[in-house]
Symmetry: C2
Subunit: 134 residues, 2 copies
DNA sequence: TATTGTTATACTCTATAACTATA
DNA sequence: TATAGTTATAGAGTATAACAATA
């Protein structure tokens, strides 16, 4: 059965998850990709645009548009790096931090709903397996 | 860590798998999406364009272009359904069948390489988990 | 009236190439 | 010369709307 192929399963699992995370994030005015950017920026370590892009495996030109959008929404701010003015350090605004916190809880809930078909241990195993593959 | 999020893991697992299946399919002149279409058409049951699209969860307008491409490559043929001439039945040509058989072995190999980081039982579990989620 | 296939079109996501400024 | 950010642009991949043929 072609619907047992790994490519099909991964793609459609992702589609189904997006169907849940999308509405969960809507009240926060962001989508899943913006949530991912906020998440890497939410770690203690300050990151430049390029560094944030590399963490997520996206191109730096893609990151420009993402940071533009998040800045328009007052969720992040750009600041030139003091020692290397080629770099833009990107940091969460207080509003960005609150948004990330709420959005994180919303996404946690969406992931739980998505994984509801699996007993608790299996859900944990699935995540562990995927981590070993990426 | 934002890179433990399910969305990130599913997306990047799929990206990594595609990096393996792409080159594996290249000798057959098809990509992963075309392989998926050939696969559903490879089952004994004859399918119309719409039915094939529904099996894969893609739009019927998308299927038009896919069948166009596969027909240009002489891998499939369109035939009007004898009892309902609105329908195009799509069937593998002999060359399409050979291509599917070889491509299936190539994709099996790519999946094995992708899953090499997991012990055999875990690889099977991963596929089972994903099947329960889609 | 509803369905299947088709076409035209538009939108989202992403990357490549070329530019600016800084190093 | 090389790097970070930016802009313009183009290419996938996909879906929506409108139409023709058929039911």
């Amino acid at each position: 059965m072609s619907t047992r192929r790994l490519g099909y399963l991964l793609k459609h699992a992702n589609l189904r998850l997006t169907e849940l995370t999308g509405p969960a994030l809507a009240p926060y005015g962001i989508d899943g990709r913006e949530f991912a950017v906020l998440s890497v920026l939410g770690t203690p370590e300050p990151l430049s645009q390029l560094e944030a892009a590399q963490r997520l495996g996206i191109d730096r030109t893609t990151m420009v548009a993402m940071v533009d959008a998040l800045e328009r929404k007052k969720l992040v701010g750009r600041r030139p790096h003091p020692d290397d003015r080629r770099k833009n350090m990107v940091e969460l605004t207080p509003h960005g931090r609150e948004t990330l916190d709420g959005a994180t809880r919303a996404v946690d809930g969406a992931e739980r709903a998505f994984l509801a078909a699996l007993p608790g241990d299996d859900a944990r195993l699935l995540r562990d397996f995927l981590e070993r593959l990426v």
